[in-house]
């Protein structure tokens, strides 16, 4: 089973995608707490695609693909990559941020990695970034890291 969405590259549209994916996940019987995790992770992935991949260019698009099988709910977020997104090797902690060692932003990937069961950029031959994150369909499989 699969589903595809295409969004304008404008902040705020990630909420439309969030509500759509949540409705899809509910119909597939995902537990509510995992759907909450999925909603936050999806919004963060879309914001990264809009801000860092598509550089807030309103003429570009963000594409979301969902693939669901018996075991996993897989979401891929594609941008049209004006430049490859290179995340920092280690995200700053809140202590670092409070002591002025870096931007207060930049917690999106951290949240996605904590909320999903697997996440990361997928190498591509063509232009654009693909970020994939996965949720086990058995809620018991997830351990909050």
């Amino acid at each position: 089973m699969s589903m595809e969405l295409t969004l304008p590259n404008q902040l705020g549209y990630e909420l439309i995608a969030r509500d759509t994916i949540a409705a899809f996940a509910r119909r597939l019987g995902m537990p509510m707490d995992r759907i909450d995790d999925m909603k936050t992770a999806l919004c963060e992935a879309c914001i990264n695609a809009m801000e860092h991949g598509n550089l807030l260019n309103p003429n570009l698009r963000v594409q979301i693909l969902c693939h669901v099988d018996d075991d996993r709910f897989v979401i891929e977020v594609y941008d049209q990559g004006l430049r490859p997104f290179v995340p920092p090797p280690t995200p700053l902690s809140i202590v670092d941020k409070l002591t002025g060692m870096g931007s207060l932003r930049g917690m999106g990937l951290l949240l996605i990695s904590q909320l999903s069961d697997e996440s990361g950029f997928v190498p591509r031959d063509e232009a654009g970034n693909c970020f994939r994150f996965t949720f086990q369909r058995s809620g018991a499989a997830h351990v909050c890291r």
């Binding site: 707490d33 909450d36 936050t40 919004c43 809140i94 409070l98 207060l104 932003r105 917690m107």
Partner: protein
């Protein structure tokens, strides 16, 4: 961009400056939240409560704004607490470390009681 959907108001309750946040806490919330915080700080608030509504949406940009508030709270020797977060966002606040700097309560009433231990 889609319409900004956040209402921020302030009030005083038993010596606690309450900042009510109704709506989405995203990058668009920065001015509203910072202005509300400055307003209560300028009136001498020592105790500050960020009071959320259960179904709000808070993203990483919103969390960054709240980390900025923590920085100011520490600088101004105030005490900060948070109430009204859903279980999901309580978990998010713990994940990013905000819970180290602000006590998290289910309700406004519990938060107001929680400030009592700091009163001299």
């Amino acid at each position: 961009m889609l319409e900004d959907d956040l209402t921020v108001t302030t009030r005083d309750q038993d010596g606690v400056a309450i900042i009510d946040l109704v709506g989405d806490v995203t990058t668009f919330a920065e001015d509203k939240i910072n202005n509300a915080y400055r307003e209560v700080t300028n009136t001498g608030a020592r105790f500050v409560l960020l009071n959320f509504r259960q179904n709000d949406y808070i993203n990483s940009a919103g969390i960054a704004i709240l980390i900025g508030i923590v920085t100011e709270v520490n600088r101004n020797n105030q005490k900060l607490a948070v109430s009204g977060l859903s279980q999901h966002f309580q978990k998010i606040f713990r994940m990013v470390g905000l819970a180290q700097y602000a006590d998290i309560y289910q309700t406004e009433e519990e938060a107001l009681s929680g400030f009592d231990r700091f009163r001299g």
